[in-house]
């Protein structure tokens, strides 16, 4: 029974508890049903692309940290890979392994927050996100041990990593990898089969396979729609071709699938870290690279599979110390293309859940 009522406009955000930052949605509601939605971006537009044009290739790394601040390592990695491709820099073996470990830890970290925030949005009062934060703290400890910062690491450099891993890094990592699967089990037990969560998220906010591909969705959002596409497999960068892992995919493309895909991906990440730990070589951690990199004239489009999806940098070089044009493919922004199609027709409560299931990071949406 729907009672016809007058639609009214309501503003979600920019400072709303569950818009993951400063996202804003102008929503037309008919009672509780969303009739139309217009996302308003730009409340965190900081002009990173413009700033990057005035900085050296090393000086950009702190900027990339603040892109997707939940996955700063992945951003660092993507930037460094792009610069290495552009300038033809070789990376030593040890650095490659360290990078893979860091990137996968970062994926765990980001997915933990994504899942926790999603569950928090669906109304589980703070508990899941606090459990996940606890796990995240363990990862942050490792990052901190390596780079000295908790959130913005500035750890990778073109040609390796800035510092070698200290000797206590591997034992700590070992312990973490031992513990993590059990905690993941616990999270599954906590809410994965919860009836209310199923009722809230199954079949809600369906993104069809065709629409997902057509709207350039990537990462878990794309995979939850049933597309088996992961750049780590499709175009293995760094040394991802040496590891065995699977690409979890969903079937329906609903919120629950997106949640599940992330949970499964975390297990795969742990698997990759285990393998990388076993093969971890010794040797140089950074190749000899001039302090001011001057890549030859040219352009590069280099992409990696960041936690939120395909993160790519398009760099045009004019052989000066700063890039001529520095473009970032904002994963989160492009994942939001189909937002309206996913939300319209659902209720206000679903709006929050669907939005939370996409897992965006405002720093990357607005850049």
């Amino acid at each position: 029974m729907t009672i016809k009522t007058e639609p009214f406009v309501i503003n979600f955000g920019p400072a709303h508890p569950s818009t993951h930052g400063v996202f804003r949605m102008r929503v037309v509601l008919d009672g509780e049903v969303v009739l139309d939605l217009e996302p308003v971006y730009g409340y965190l537009h900081r002009g990173i692309e413009k700033l990057a044009e005035q900085r050296t290739y090393t000086g950009i790394i702190p900027l990339t940290d603040r892109l997707d601040y939940l996955a700063a390592m992945s951003n660092n990695l993507a930037h460094c890979i792009a610069v290495e491709k552009l300038a033809g820099i070789k990376v030593p073996e040890r650095a490659e392994y360290l990078r893979v470990i860091l990137a996968e830890l970062q994926r765990l970290c980001s997915h933990l927050i994504a899942v926790g925030a999603f569950l928090n949005d669906s109304g589980a009062f703070m508990t899941p996100i606090l459990y996940m934060l606890r796990e995240r703290e363990k990862i942050l400890d490792l990052f901190e041990m390596l780079s000295g910062q908790r959130l913005t690491y500035n750890d990778m450099r073109p040609g390796g990593v800035s510092q070698d891993a200290p000797e206590e890094f591997l034992p700590a990592l070992h312990k973490f990898v031992d513990q993590m699967p059990r905690y993941l089990d616990e999270y599954d037990q906590l809410l994965a089969k919860n009836e209310i969560l199923l009722a809230r998220s199954k079949g809600v906010g369906i993104l069809s396979k065709e629409l997902a591909i057509n709207s350039s969705a990537s990462g878990p959002v794309l995979r939850a729609s049933g597309v088996k596409w992961d750049i780590r497999k499709a175009e293995p960068y760094s040394i991802y071709d040496r590891f065995e892992f699977e690409i979890p995919t969903g079937t329906a493309g609903d919120c629950y699938d997106r949640y599940l895909v992330r949970m499964l991906e975390m297990r795969q990440s742990v698997r990759i870290i285990e393998q990388a730990m076993k093969q971890f070589p010794s040797g140089e951690y950074r190749s000899r690279v001039p302090k001011l990199i001057r890549p030859p004239v040219g352009e590069v489009y280099s992409r990696i599979e960041a936690p939120k999806g395909e993160l790519a940098f398009y760099i045009v070089s004019d052989s000066s110390i700063a890039p001529y044009r520095y473009h970032i493919r904002g994963t989160s922004l492009i994942n939001l293309t189909a937002l309206r199609d996913m939300i319209v027709g659902w209720k206000v409560a679903d709006l929050i859940v669907i939005f939370g299931s996409i897992d965006i990071c405002m720093g990357e949406v607005d850049r």
């Binding site: 029974m1 729907t2 009672i3 009522t5 007058e6 009672g31």
Partner: protein, 162 residues
């Protein structure tokens, strides 16, 4: 004495509430005013030693009917338009006054057979006996429940999506 004070207070509140219903421009406030009136009437029931009825009055009128009416007000969004009076304001007023005059005249001049027996208290068990017991109102009760059912069905049919 206590009863008299209670009666006068409650009566005045009830009348004020009723006047609020017809005089207030804002529909939402009119509904709130109705609630006030209903509460006062529930109080009057207590002065009449009908405690069960008072509770039922609050439960049904305040808890259900008023909330339903407020829901209707909200859903139709006619709050801002207010509740204007129609063309029949003056005739309605005359009719109401005439009605009151006639009825009041009749009431004052009728010699009611006031019984001096004490009222039954508590009324709950007695009411149940009256409703369900022998020689009670069991048939009207059944009819009333059928009426309720019919009303619910009717309401659902009316507002169902076509």
């Amino acid at each position: 004495m206590g009863l008299a004070i209670a009666f006068w207070i409650l009566a005045i509140v009830a009348i004020a509430g009723a006047l609020g219903v017809v005089l207030l421009k804002n529909v939402f406030r009119a509904a709130l005013s109705l609630i006030l009136c209903l509460l006062a009437v529930a109080g009057l029931f207590i002065t009449l030693s009908a405690d069960f009825l008072a509770a039922v009055q609050i439960l049904i009128y305040v808890g259900a009917i008023s909330v339903l009416i407020i829901l209707a007000i909200m859903l139709t969004r006619e709050v801002t338009q207010g509740s204007p009076s129609g063309r029949f304001r003056i005739p309605a007023f005359i009719v109401a006054v005439l009605f009151f005059a006639v009825v009041a005249y009749a009431m004052v001049n009728t010699n009611w057979q006031i019984a001096t027996a004490p009222p039954l208290e508590p009324t709950t068990a007695a009411l149940a006996g009256k409703l369900f017991g022998e020689k009670g109102f069991i048939l009207p009760l059944e009819i009333a429940s059928v009426l309720l059912l019919a009303a619910i069905l009717g309401a659902i049919v009316l507002v169902r999506e076509k």
